[in-house]
Amino acid sequence: MIEAPTITPPDAAMPRGKALRRGLAANPLLTVGGALVLLIVFVAIVAPLIVPFPGDAGTATHPFEVLKAPSAAHWFGTDNVGRDLFSRVLFGARVSPVIAMIVLVIACLVGVPLGVAAGFLGGWVDELIMRVTDVFLAFPPLLLALALAAVLPASLTSVTIAIAAVWWPWYVRLIRGQAASVTGRPYVEACRALGLSRMRIIFRHILPNSITPVLVQVSLDVGGVILTASALSFLGLGAQDPVPDWGLMVSSGQSYFTPDWWMVTFPGLAILLTAFAFNLLGDGLRDLLDPKRSLLP
């Protein structure tokens, strides 16, 4: 009475390369998003080698080249102290996205374990964690970050810490709900009945099944963190000139916007592109991780 499987399996013998291409073809979001992110990373790495005016990303100033419109010599024009904007924007890929990544990694490293613990264990642990989280959430994020940044010496590191400190509570709340819901599912109860240890249940069952909203949120937050960092920089609490932080460039370019639009526009577009790329990547990852939708075995 042995039943053979009635569904045709994805070809188990397919070579990895072909399987990968198949998977990517079925997942355009992942492909495009992934490609863009890789592009940004690539730019960040090779910036010093390819930009026409590497010094402009640092302390160089050119008083005679101030506020030149985009041209063949300066593709993105120059800023208020004559620095080549193209060089600065490309160098910015080494700054803003990196801050965003560090902030979000910290937020996850703190927020996810707390959220999973709260959701899985329930009871007083849940209460305790959620009440502490609520306290942090009660503060307007920008004000809290401001307060923290004001206490710390003005620098990129301070901005990173300040924003991370404000960002983690959202992840606790986000994953706690998922974790609690997954904990209640029959297969988790089955794991308990089968004698699996709590650690094993958490890492092999709860976490993989509740992490997806966090991944999506992370991808959405990249743009948000960059903007928050720029606000803090604008207020003088974070990156200081001449660091080529996109947010700082947008902030300082504001007053020159009419008629010298390029100071704001190009860094702004860079932020947009980065946020968009991570967004797509996030969506693609979500689909990839859902066994019901993915074609990868």
Partner: protein, 373 residues
């Protein structure tokens, strides 16, 4: 029992369908000497103010043996199954496995117990992790309990799947690629991985198509004889226990209404609820179609149980005594116990109305609670 005779008219029920092929399951076994594998004594489980299980005592003999636990929503049957697996906290009474109290087990001892007793849940759609391959799900259990050395795991997974009637290639599939019946087989294969002596089957076929139900039940019968398995078969359908369980207990609102030899309960029940439950099972028997006994109302709210006998508001034979006095389990024959004041009348064939007395319009009582069993 005036309602019963037509059932057996002209039908040899043992021909070809009785899984025990006409054998008396208890013949030749001296059950009085051997200690039961599982002993539940006066078990009580409370969820807040609600007594989901209220003073239940049951024994499950060593295998091969099947105990049926029949009841509807709110009867506490699933809670008992979970309590046996230490998945809910009990509020009173004890559960002993092979003589040892399982309530006090901790850590490694508790984990060891989980090799002896396992459970298959009702919902095949959600009892497997959707993100794990079938093979990985089963392997996880084998690994956690060190059932076989690492190198032998793949082979054992294949063997378990085959035992449950599935091609080993299923190990490379995800749960959503399987049908409900196949998923249930995987759940059974997984439970068998630890080689348990006792298996709790919680409504294993309720969510399945009728042919799949039959296949799963046949599988249970085969495993029973191959592994000398003991099992507790929890269901709301009497038809399911009749072929697989030597003994059956009928539960109502957390208490045992009647318990005894399955065949006796089917043929000569002593509790009106058992009779009604039996009569409610749809049968294909056209020629001798008899009228159903229809019980008025729905199972009551467990947070607000009726006084006296909890069944009295729906009971066709209720008298004043039933409203005030809680019936205790008493003997109604060898190995047969019943908790009913009017058991003698039931056994003597008291008439139970087959239609509602002038349609009793259902009044709202306290808000119906969600399923507790």
């Amino acid at each position: 029992m005036t309602a019963e005779p037509e059932l057996t008219a002209g039908r040899d029920l043992t021909a070809g369908r009785d899984l025990t092929a006409g054998r008396d399951l208890t013949a030749g076994r001296d059950l009085t000497g051997t200690p039961p594998l599982l002993q539940i004594s006066n078990l009580t489980v409370r969820f807040g103010p609600v007594r989901a299980v209220d003073g239940v005592s049951l024994d499950v003999a060593a295998g091969p043996f099947g105990l049926g636990l029949v009841g509807e929503s709110g009867s506490g049957k699933s809670t008992i199954g979970r309590a046996i697996l230490r998945l809910v906290r009990t509020s009173g009474g004890s559960i002993k496995f092979a003589g040892e109290d399982i309530g006090s087990l901790r850590g490694a001892a508790l984990k060891a117990y989980r090799r002896h007793a396992q459970i298959v849940f009702q919902d095949p759609d959600n009892s497997l992790d959707p993100r794990m391959l079938i093979g990985a799900t089963i392997a996880e259990v084998l690994r956690a309990h060190h059932v076989v050395p690492r190198t032998a795991i793949t082979e054992r997974v294949a063997a378990l799947l085959a035992e449950a009637g599935l091609d080993p290639a299923f190990a490379q599939r995800y749960p959503h690629q399987l049908s409900g019946g196949q998923r249930q087989r995987v759940a059974i294969a997984r439970a068998l991985g630890v080689q348990p002596r006792l298996l709790v089957l919680d409504e294993p076929t309720s969510a399945l198509d009728v042919r799949t139900q039959a296949h799963i039940l046949k599988l249970v019968a085969r495993l029973r004889s191959e592994h000398k398995l003991s099992y507790l078969l929890i269901t709301h359908n009497f038809g399911v226990v009749s072929e697989l369980c030597e003994q059956t207990a009928v539960l109502y609102l957390g208490k045992i209404a009647e318990i005894g030899d399955t065949k006796v309960l089917l043929r000569a029940a002593a509790h009106p609820y058992t009779v009604a439950l039996r009569s409610a099972v749809p049968e294909v028997d056209i020629a001798g179609r008899r009228s159903r006994i229809v019980l008025p109302g729905d199972p009551p709210d467990a947070a607000n149980p009726p006084s006296g006998c909890v069944f009295h508001p729906r009971c066709p034979l209720a008298v004043d005594r039933c409203r005030t006095e809680v019936p205790v389990l008493r003997d109604a024959g060898p190995g047969h116990q019943v908790a009913c004041h009017r058991a003698e009348d039931v056994l003597a064939g008291a008439e139970m109305p087959t239609r509602r007395r002038p349609p009793a319009i259902e009044r709202p009582e306290a808000a119906a609670s969600s399923e507790l069993s």
